[in-house]
């Protein structure tokens, strides 16, 4: 009878784990698409992040804007998008991109946001719009961090500062 318990426990556990695994594969797909959707409505400059993330932990400004950078011609102060550095946090990588028009920040988009776990995704999705609004109002990286999203905020603002440096703002 003990064997009956052992066998059924093993079968039940295996079944539960396999079911979890299967539905996890499905979620992993949608999860990454959610993350990429969060990465920016513009959808441009997909290349960015990965190369940067391999490098040592991105302390902010030092590394030059890794990719994309200013759009074509004209002077440095013209319309352009500038990607900030990739900042590694314990909850995932963060990278933002700014759109600059006539020396003013007109838009901030997150190319990558903390997404290590479901909870991080939630926090990111809550914090990113707030940070964007604050940055657009302040026209600098000198804004309040979002409470409850300290890690994400710090990384966001560090990456933003790198982008601002790249844009010479």
């Amino acid at each position: 009878m003990r064997t009956r318990a052992a066998v059924s426990a093993a079968l039940a556990s295996a079944g539960i784990l396999i079911a979890g695994w299967q539905s996890g594969l499905h979620v992993a797909d949608t999860g990454s698409s959610v993350a990429s959707a969060a990465a920016g409505s513009t959808g441009s400059s997909g290349s960015s992040g990965t190369s940067g993330s391999a490098g040592a932990s991105g302390s902010s400004g030092s590394s030059s804007p890794s990719s994309a950078g200013g759009t074509t011609g004209a002077s440095a102060k013209a319309v352009g998008t500038y990607a900030g550095s990739v900042v590694q946090t314990r909850f995932g990588s963060v990278q933002v991109q700014i759109t600059v028009q006539a020396g003013k920040i007109t838009d901030v988009t997150a190319l990558q946001l903390t997404d290590a776990e479901r909870k991080s995704v939630q926090i990111s999705n809550r914090a990113a719009p707030l940070l964007r609004t604050e940055v657009l109002a302040a026209q600098s990286a000198d804004v309040q961090t979002i409470s409850g999203a300290t890690v994400t905020s710090d990384a966001y603002l560090n990456s933003l500062q790198a982008a601002l440096d790249a844009a010479n703002l």
Partner: protein, 480 residues
């Protein structure tokens, strides 16, 4: 000396042959419940991990740092699940108690203590490594950073320290050095440990993240555990205490250092069949009320005695600080009660034969079981063991019950022989007697054993050697 007080009449044995086993169905149901609980246990652990997988946990394994973090999360989930299961095992849930017994449930609870702690430690260490790698910090700096920077993490560190304290004070070697009350007080910190661990699971971890199945699983498990503890450890004892209104009727001296405490109360018919099972008693007298005593009933509850009152009886020996004051209990003292608990009862029966072996004060639950458990005349054997006849407490009552019910009674008195591992007195051991010598159909019998643990283990060994299967052996430990 070895006295066979009642011999089987030859005519009686006939019954043992063909009759069907009346306990077969009950026994199968109990095994089924036990198996079901085993499956639920493992399924719960698997479920904790599976729900994490279902929420896309595997994605973490794409990087080395993520792998450490993911393993850390799995360890944490399994650890939390184990802690909640341990609480459920200690909640005195009747389903568990009536399936494996209070002592076995607590034994399992104890066995899980170290694995749970190791999982929680692994959780902390692996997460510190994983997060540290992602940030470019060594694990120690990362731990400090987590403590300082991430909200609620300091509570998780406190929780970890509390868990360590609880497990360390429960290690046998450590536990022996401190009084029971110290261990109990530290053990209560488990609740603080669980509560302080919850905030970081909400804020940092994903256990309760909105829109996930994990949220519902953990909410359900936490609430169910809390409710079970509250109901079975707080509400049920209060209800039982108020319902039965027990008061001490009289205290009768049975032998030197041994007293029977008789209590009268209401609605005791509801406790029928609990003879031999134990309750946790609190005698509400100055200096005594805070001390819980686990004692078995030494007789079936009487619904109406001569005075029209219901009565209960326990028989206790002066064993320690708490028990010594019991002899001087005053009639009229109110008694708070929790129970009945344990499987030293008919609920554990699986065969039609029954052998009851009691030593010292362990004789008293045997007395109660003998009174109520069903058997055909000739199918039961009672073996009482003590250094001398005066240690065979309630011996006269037992002799009387054996006469009336047709059970065979043996008094085995005398010291154990030196140098041999046996539960028998010297003369019986020298004569080559075994447990099977006292009841020939032992392989078709339930064997109930109650007595000091070293002695009892020798009885169990003898029973196993005679071919008695594990699920026929009913031994209640009181050293939990």
């Amino acid at each position: 000396m070895n006295t066979q007080l009642l011999t089987n009449r030859p005519g009686v044995r006939r019954n043992s042959g063909g009759a069907v086993n009346p306990f077969r169905a009950q026994y199968r149901r109990r095994l089924l419940r036990a198996d079901l609980l085993t499956v639920l246990f493992w399924a719960s652990l698997a479920g904790a991990v599976a729900l994490w997988l279902a929420d896309g946990g595997v994605a973490g394994f794409s990087t080395p740092a993520g792998s450490f973090t993911a393993l850390g999360i799995v360890a944490g989930l399994a650890g939390m699940d184990l802690v909640l299961l341990m609480l459920l095992l200690a909640a005195r849930i009747p389903l568990i108690d009536q399936t494996v017994g209070h002592d076995r449930a607590l034994e399992f609870h104890r066995k899980l203590g170290k694995p749970a702690l190791y999982l929680l430690l692994a959780h902390g260490i692996l997460i510190a490594i994983g997060y540290g790698m992602a940030e470019g910090l060594d694990p120690v700096s990362e731990s400090v950073a987590l403590w300082v920077l991430v909200p609620d993490m300091w509570l998780a560190y406190i929780s970890m320290l509390l868990f360590i304290a609880v497990v360390v004070t429960s290690l046998v070697a450590v536990r022996r050095r401190f009084p029971y009350e110290f261990w109990y007080a530290v053990h209560l910190l488990t609740y603080a440990a669980v509560l302080t661990s919850l905030p970081h699971q909400f804020s940092v971890g994903g256990l309760f993240a909105e829109g996930t199945w994990q949220r519902w699983y953990w909410l359900a498990l936490c609430i169910a555990t809390g409710a079970a503890l509250l109901y079975y450890r707080v509400v049920q004892p209060l209800v039982a205490t108020f319902r039965h209104q027990l008061t001490v009727k009289r205290v009768v001296r049975v032998a030197p250092g041994v007293v029977s405490i008789e209590m009268s109360g209401l609605r005791l018919d509801e406790l029928a069949g609990s003879g031999g099972r134990f309750f946790i008693w609190r005698f509400l007298a100055p200096g005594l009320w805070w001390h819980p005593h686990p004692f078995s009933l030494s007789a079936e509850p009487v619904r109406f005695d001569a005075a029209g009152q219901g009565t209960l009886r326990i028989t206790v020996r002066n064993l320690g600080r708490g028990s010594s004051q019991l002899a001087s209990l005053k009639p009229g003292t109110k008694v708070a009660v929790e129970g009945p608990y344990g499987l030293f009862s008919t609920a554990a029966r699986s065969r039609k034969h029954v052998v009851m072996v009691g030593a010292g004060i362990g004789i008293t639950p045997v007395r109660a079981l003998l009174e109520s458990t069903p058997f055909q005349p000739g199918n039961a054997t009672v073996i009482l063991r003590g250094h001398s006849e005066s240690e065979l407490y309630l011996g006269e009552e037992i002799l009387d019950l054996c006469r009336r019910r047709g059970a065979t009674l043996f008094h085995l008195t005398g010291s154990r022989p030196a140098g041999i591992r046996t539960w028998l007195p010297e003369h019986a051991a020298r004569a080559g007697h075994r447990l099977a010598s006292y009841h020939p159909n032992i392989t078709d019998a339930d064997v109930y054993v109650c007595g000091p643990s070293a002695w009892a283990h020798n009885v169990l060994e003898d029973a196993r050697a005679a071919g008695v299967r594990e699920d026929q052996i009913h031994y209640e430990r009181f050293d939990w």
